[in-house]
Structures are given as C-alpha cells and as structure tokens.
C-alpha cells in the first residue's frame, strides 16, 4: 500500500491509499512538532524525519519499521567557531538550525546518508544517523561569506542530488548560494552554473554562480545530465549536469516565478512547476491555483487547473511537489494545508485534504 508523508508545522502525517483516489490519514507522528523534511531510503527501508523544534532546536528521528516506531538519532552539528582569523566574524551562526535535504549513496551494507542543512552545510553519516561528519572543505570555502538567506535568516542547502550513474557525483543547491557539485563523494566542492541571471544583486554580479537563488533543482533519473531549476527569477534547464543553463520562457498566463520544479524520471523533456505570482505576492498567479507541465524541454507549457481552486491563496513550497516512484502519481501540498493528487501526470487533480497544518514538504514513501 502506498504511503504519502506530509511534513507540516504540526507534525508528520502519513496518508495511505486504500483505492484509487481514496486516501486517509493513517498516522500522525510527532504531533504538534514542526517537521522540516523526511526521507525514505528505498535500499534500507529506513525512514528519517527531521524536526525543527521551536524552542529546543533541530532533531532527527529514524524508523526501521516504516513509521511504527521512531528512535532519536544524533543531529549534524557544526564545529566550534574560530575566535580568530577569517571565520571569527562570520555573520552566519555555527549552529545547525534545520535539516532541509537528504540523500543516500552506496550499497545497503555500506549505506551513506547525506544531510543538507541551514545554515548551508553538508554532512554524511555511515552508521544510519548515529554520528555525522561535516564536509569541512565545503563549510570553510571562503566563497560562503558571499551567500545570503533566501526566505530565511541564513543561507540554506535545500537540495542534494546524487548522480545515479556515478554516486560520487553530488549536486547541492543553496538559497542563496547557487549550485555546487562534488565529483569526489563530498571531499571537494565547486560552484557551478553558467547562464543564470539574478535580478536581486548589483548588475556586475547578475551572472555570478555563487550568488544565485535556485529555489529547487531536479534531475532526470534516466538521463541524469538533464537538470531543471526554478530560480528566484526564471526557469532554467541544463543538459550537462548543471554546468550550463538555458533560460526557458514560462507560460505567459502564469509567468516564471515559483518554488518547486520536478523533472520526469524517464522523459528528459518533461517537467512540472507550480507557479506563484511574483516574489511580492507569493500565492497562486491571479489567486488561481494551477500546475504547468512541459513535454518539449520547456519550449511550451500546458497549464492545468481542473480540480484546483480558482480562488485560492495557496503557496507551494520548494518541497511541496512530488512524484511517486512509479511515475504515476503527483502530489502538491500548500502552506494553507491543502493537499492534492493527480494520477494522470498533472492534468486532473483531486483534493485529499484541506485542513492540514501549513505543509513544508511532501513525498511518497519508498516501497
């Protein structure tokens, strides 16, 4: 039975599909606690839930029985901040405030779990989350001082992608610190991304990769060189693992602002976005919810509204759009507590819930 995990301001909701279109809330984990992100590892079967307690900080839980029970694990933590030298006046706190992204690499018996955080840092664990190691060269890269917060007080690393052909090749996206990659399993990192145009910095920095605000990056599993990103301003697509990006024209009816973007896992020319009305409004364009899909690598977009409210002030966060592993079901979840599903690649939508707490992230659990 398929599970949908919904990370909200007031706990983690687990929904189960009983039949086509019939989903119910099967469990409410961590009631009342803010959940920033979840991860389910298809290889080990383990589930992870990252909490961001209002008073007591970031916490990490693991379940080895698909949510029946949870064990608190160690949290990634930053080292003591130097009191002298380049980092002594770092305005970014050296304390993890949120776990925002996960990934996993390696065979089941040597599984490595990765975590991306706010402030933007990368950690890995080789013991299922019992201990964590900081990717130190990334954290101490002096380019980090040019980063800014994006929708948060500090820069945050919200996307970690693994190249399925070469798992030592990792891609990270930071708001606002651009896109970075490691070709040696996290030992060294490079800022990448030519072709972007940031409109929120001085003109001489517009194309500087290190200051960009990629709201989300998604990769085509079957052709991993193909990546898509919803930048703060603009939609972009790459065919060389994110080295170079081509700007796409959004649909004139809905523009090109928003947070989530999703690559089809098989078809490199298909992708989805859930647009929002500019960064000054941040709700559905014209207060009319829609999802847009391209089937021709972003040359044209179809706008789908069937089943979505046409008087609505929902915003879909960057982790609020997801696709099931079999590619059959899409889900979107909003800051207003609405949750919709589509079983036909986004053309028709069914409302699953309209009374959830504000939703941070949604994902189908790996089977």
């Amino acid at each position: 039975m398929q599970s949908l995990l919904v990370s909200t301001r007031k706990g983690l909701f687990e929904l189960l599909a009983h039949s086509a279109g019939a989903w119910t809330i099967a469990a409410h984990h961590f009631p009342g606690e803010p959940v920033s992100q979840t991860f389910t590892d298809a290889l080990t079967g383990h589930w992870f839930a990252a909490l961001r307690l209002g008073h007591f900080g970031v916490k990490l839980y693991r379940s080895t029985d698909r949510g029946k029970s949870w064990q608190e694990m160690a949290c990634p933590a930053l080292p003591p901040q130097p009191t002298q030298g380049f980092w002594a006046d770092d305005p970014t706190p050296w304390s993890v405030e949120m776990i925002w992204s996960f990934a996993a690499t390696g065979p089941a018996h040597q599984r490595r779990l990765w975590a991306g955080t706010m402030p933007a840092a990368v950690f890995y664990s080789d013991d299922g989350g019992q201990s964590w190691t900081l990717c130190d060269s990334f954290w101490r890269d002096e380019k980090r001082k040019q980063w800014m917060g994006g929708g948060n007080d500090y820069p945050g690393l919200h996307t970690l992608l693994v190249n399925p052909v070469d798992e030592s090749h990792l891609t990270a996206a930071i708001s606002c610190g651009g896109i970075w990659e490691s070709r040696d399993a996290g030992c060294s990192w490079q800022s990448i991304g030519q072709g972007f145009k940031a409109d929120f910095v001085p003109p001489e920095l517009i194309s500087e990769p290190n200051v960009q605000d990629p709201h989300r990056v998604s990769r085509c599993t079957a052709q991993p060189a193909v990546m898509w990103t919803q930048l703060h301003f603009g939609l972009y697509r790459s065919e060389d693992h994110g080295q170079h990006w081509q700007q796409l024209q959004g649909h004139p009816e809905i523009g090109d602002f928003g947070f989530p973007i999703l690559a089809d896992p098989v078809n490199p020319e298909r992708g989805w976005v859930v647009p929002a009305q500019s960064d000054t409004h941040r709700y559905a364009p014209g207060a009319r919810m829609c999802v847009a899909r391209t089937d021709d690598a972003g040359k044209t977009w179809q706008v789908f509204r069937s089943g979505l409210p046409q008087q609505s002030y929902d915003l879909i966060y960057r982790h609020g759009l997801t696709l099931s592993a079999d590619g059959q079901a899409l889900a979107i979840a909003s800051t207003t507590g609405n949750l919709w599903l589509s079983s036909d690649a986004g053309q028709q939508w069914h409302q699953i819930s309209q009374h959830l707490p504000p939703i941070n992230a949604v994902m189908f659990a790996a089977n």
Binding site: L53, G54, H55, F56, G57, K59, E72, C75, A77, L78, P79, P80, Q81, P93, W94, S95, V96
Partner: protein, 89 residues
C-alpha cells in the same frame, strides 16, 4: 550545591527531574545536570555550547544573558531554571 530544574515542556521530550549538582560556572552546572541524560544537552544548548535562542535560563529570579556567557559563576544555594522562551512558540 545548586538546584537545576527543567520546565515541563522539556520533560515532554526527555526525562529531566530536578537535580542537585556542585556549584561552578554555568557551563559546569548544566553539564553536570546533563550527566544522567546526555542527549538533553542539545535541547538546551546550541552547537557552540551557548543557550539556545528560544530557551531561557534563570539563575534564581534573574534571566541569564548574554547566551554565550557560560563562565558565569553559580554559587551554592542558587537555583537554575531552564524553560522555553515564548519567542520560540
């Protein structure tokens, strides 16, 4: 000795009954109080060992600030109270 007490909102996450610990700096007093439940430390202190932004520590009736002043002496007979700040709600 110093009495260390934790608010109910923290006991919801971790067992932390009132404790009697030796006097010393605030860091030493809190570390001693974390001995029985080491994971409690990360609920009260951040990665730098400072009082979390949305946690309030009182020494007797006085809120302790700044949050990174962990060398503050806590004398015998004092009570340290660890509660949640309303700012983090």
């Amino acid at each position: 000795m110093v009495t260390v007490e934790f608010a109910n909102s923290l006991q919801r996450h971790k067992p932390c009954p009132p404790q009697q610990v030796s006097s010393g700096s605030l860091a030493q007093v809190l570390n001693a109080a974390f001995t029985a439940e080491p994971s409690l430390r990360h609920y009260v202190l951040d990665d730098q060992g400072h009082i979390r932004k949305h946690v309030a520590v009182f020494i007797d009736s006085q809120i302790h600030l700044p949050r990174d002043a962990m060398a503050q002496p806590v004398r015998d007979g004092c009570k340290v109270l660890v509660i949640q700040s309303l700012t983090g709600g």
